[in-house]
Symmetry: C2
Subunit: 111 residues, 2 copies
Amino acid sequence: MHAFDILGDPVRRRILELLATGEHSSGDVVAVVHREFGITQSAVSQQLRILRDAGFASVRADGTRRIYAVEPARLREVDDWLDRFRAFWLPRLDALATEVARGKRKRRHRE
Amino acid sequence: MHAFDILGDPVRRRILELLATGEHSSGDVVAVVHREFGITQSAVSQQLRILRDAGFASVRADGTRRIYAVEPARLREVDDWLDRFRAFWLPRLDALATEVARGKRKRRHRE
DNA sequence: CGCTAATATTAGTAATAGCTAATATTGATG
DNA sequence: CATCAATATTAGCTATTACTAATATTAGCG
């Protein structure tokens, strides 16, 4: 599934924004999303599964809790896809500066 | 409409990739997309309209042709949204380097 | 072990998105 | 002006998606 298909949903984006600030239990995520979107625990759990299955988030167990963390690789795909447009808003940056800036040196096929 | 809702569709992404390489007429876009996705002129035209309406592309007339160009602002929104995740893959870049690299200095509320 | 809390799963439903086919519009040209 | 080429629009259909309600699972605890 393409990264953008996953990011197309506002609930999933909100969950990722939350996870960007650090790990959170399923319950935490449910609380925030329920407050902001008014949807049920079931719906949030389903979205968490989609994020897991698509590789945007990882989980570990802590007793009966599930602790979710953001998994950055898929988000970097989006960042890479944007490369082809960066010339439109970074027109004066030379190649080296861009490389350094974006941390791309030798990264692309090494990790 | 949120930028990611627009980018969630593979046909729209392909059109933007094409426009990233330079201006193209509607007919050019139709030819490429039809070859790669097998959809009709009508469908492509509808997607071009969505891109226009959402501010991802602009058009100008050239006789009976319509020439499309990418409009970068909406794509930059996506780039900005990714900021919150960059620490995951650019952990060692200091703040100044990041600013320079990403061309953000005084940019955010000036343009 | 039986109960409760935390989370996940399943089945069914309603709204939406993207498509085709048909038609309309617009500009160029003989 | 009639016609053609390029593009846009509309109506209707279908598949998908995200949801709720109900139920299942799993861990901790008395």
